[in-house]
């Protein structure tokens, strides 16, 4: 299953992914119109500020097995045929058991236009099913300009990264040690890995 790969060392905290996510999950799917919608659409990922310029994007990993699914007392959380973990707003009772169970803290609770009576329900990344059906990448991936969020099979990404790291280690063992300018950690790592 293709999934959103996060490279936190690249994130600059611009929040464009959050904006794109909210717009994608709005009724109109248009930024200007979304701002005026009766039920304000919410982003399903969080960006935590860190020290220096490091920011950390945090979103649902669609775990297998999913702790949120195991603990949902309303049976609202299920796995879709494509492999993502989905919350049914028609069944969700807003009890926050999933928040207790999720080790990554990716849930949020807010009104949803799709929920009966627009009531507040549990919200999280759903990996943009409508976009995927159209052969497009998720909204956050499309919005990210620095490559902190990419879309692909995680095993392939893992192999690529492993290969690049091995090459970098090999290269550093070959050349004599040079004094490098002092850079922030994320930029140094970015240069090494890209």
């Amino acid at each position: 299953m293709k999934t959103v790969i996060v490279r936190p060392e690249r994130c600059v905290g611009c929040w464009q992914c959050r904006l794109a996510c909210a717009v994608e999950h709005s009724q109109t799917k248009d930024l200007a119109a979304a701002l005026g919608e009766e039920v304000r659409p919410r982003p399903r990922l969080r960006i935590y500020p860190g020290r220096q310029h490091l920011a950390f994007p945090n979103k649902c990993r669609h775990c297998e097995p999913a702790p949120c699914q195991a603990v949902c007392i309303a049976g609202a959380i299920h796995r879709t045929p494509r492999g993502t973990v989905d919350i049914d707003p028609g069944k969700c009772i807003n009890c926050a058991m999933c928040a207790m169970a999720c080790p990554f803290g990716v849930l949020t609770y807010a009104s949803l236009y799709k929920a009966p009576d627009h009531r507040a329900v549990a919200l999280k990344c759903d990996q943009c099913p409508e976009r995927e059906a159209q052969g497009r990448v998720p909204a956050c991936v499309e919005a990210c300009k620095v490559g902190a969020l990419t879309y692909g099979e995680w095993q392939e990404t893992q192999e690529d990264k492993g290969r690049v790291l091995a090459q970098a280690v090999f290269a550093s063992l070959q050349s004599p040690r040079e004094t490098e300018p002092s850079l922030p950690d994320n930029l140094r790592v970015w240069r090494l890995l890209s």
Partner: protein
């Protein structure tokens, strides 16, 4: 190998499924005094409020037992377990012999033992049958008193308020959820409860119920005050269903004592769920803690061990999530009474209605209360469950998001 499981709810069902994976051929008999397939007990208060429809409570379909190859004895009551003969005896006269037995019989609601309890119009809420009885019993009722301001009492009081009843909620102590919340969090809860229009009385306890024509008419408080009520609901805790263990030495109403493999003193008998008294993760000693996910976890461990596995139950981590019309409190780990020797870090944001209380012991998080901003609770629970060293939040709000 003959396996018998008493109880087909959270623990019993989790155990049966796990057991089936360990032993695909063995005979698994599941006995339940309830005649329906598995439903979600925590949803009963949502049924009561009308937030969900009755058809939404089912967690398994009607042919669940057949699909899994379980022999189901539904609507049957266990009258005796005889370890010497390795038999479970049912009220119908049927006998179920076992090689391994799991007791997942749960617990039943307590009643305080006051005069007038046996009047018509007195209820508890634990099963689907209780809910049906309550629904028909609420006809013509105007005033309801809910006794006990725990999680169930609070949800029930809210549900009845939404339905248009006049509700009085009685808390025995100075605050609701006395074992889970400190004074600050409790004050925030009491504000929210007052905003919902629930008449909450603290330090209040019924001493007698008075009736008229066999039906409850009023409730006499410890203060002497008389509350008119046509229905009274007791939510004052539960006691383990262990009557059928009389004579075995295993049946402690405070919960069946189990070891870390969830085995009782009898090596062929296991116990899981609300009826047992498991080890806890963060504190020594064993005592019951009644919550659905814990029952499922215990069921899985017991089921595996019945089937020949050797899994250890890591210990129960108390956790609770309360959501009352959007007002949320999540608490877990050690409660305020058990964290007196811990370092406490507490942050209150009154304007937003957010409160966070963290209890640390030797650099590890052991207690948590979140009011309002509860969405990231799971991260804290992972820290507690894994015993990870957790630095105190130096810049509150920033590092923890």
């Amino acid at each position: 190998m003959r396996y018998v499981i008493i109880g087909a709810s959270a623990a019993g069902q989790a155990a049966a499924e796990t057991l089936r994976q360990w032993d695909p051929q063995g005979s698994i008999t599941v006995i339940s005094d309830e005649a329906q397939p598995l439903y979600s007990r925590p949803l009963l208060t949502y049924l009561l409020s009308g937030e969900i429809r009755p058809e939404k409570v089912w967690l398994k379909g009607a042919d669940y037992f057949q699909e899994w190859g379980f022999e189901a004895r539904l609507g049957e009551e266990v009258v005796q377990v005889v370890p010497a003969d390795r038999e479970v005896r049912l009220a119908s006269g049927r006998v179920c012999p076992y090689d391994r037995l799991l007791i997942a019989s749960g617990a039943r609601p307590k009643v305080p033992g006051i005069p007038g309890e046996d009047l018509e119009g007195v209820f508890t809420l634990r099963t689907l049958a209780d809910w049906r009885r309550l629904e028909s019993g609420l006809e013509g009722v105007r005033q309801v008193v809910v006794v006990g301001a725990g999680a169930v009492g609070l949800k029930t009081a809210d549900a009845l308020m939404r339905r248009g009843f006049e509700v009085t909620l009685l808390a025995r102590g100075a605050q609701p959820l006395s074992r889970m919340l400190d004074a600050t969090a409790a004050a925030m809860l009491m504000d929210a409860v007052a905003t919902m229009g629930i008449d909450l009385r603290c330090h209040s306890w019924p001493v007698a119920l008075k009736g008229d024509g066999g039906r409850v008419k009023k409730l006499i408080l410890n203060s002497g005050e008389e509350l008119p009520a046509q229905a009274v609901l007791f939510s004052v805790g539960v006691t383990a269903n262990v009557d059928f263990l009389e004579g075995t030495g295993l049946g402690d109403p405070g919960g069946i004592l189990v070891d870390r493999k969830l085995r009782s003193r009898d090596p062929r008998i296991f116990a899981a769920g609300d009826c047992c008294r498991p080890h806890h993760l963060l504190s020594p000693g064993q005592w019951p803690y009644h919550i659905w996910p814990a029952a499922v976890d215990q069921g899985r461990v017991a089921g595996a061990n019945m089937g020949g596995g050797s899994r250890l139950y890591p210990g129960l981590l108390p956790q609770n999530s309360l959501s009352l019309r959007g007002f949320k409190i999540i608490s877990g780990g050690l409660g305020p009474h058990d964290t007196k020797d811990c370092e406490i870090v507490a942050e209150l944001d009154q304007s937003r209605g957010h409160y966070r209380r963290l209890a640390y012991r030797e650099g590890r998080l052991v207690g948590l209360t979140l009011v309002g901003a509860v969405a990231e609770a799971g991260i804290y629970f992972q820290l507690m469950a894994q015993g990870l060293p957790a630095p105190e939040p130096v810049t509150p709000g920033l590092l923890w998001g």
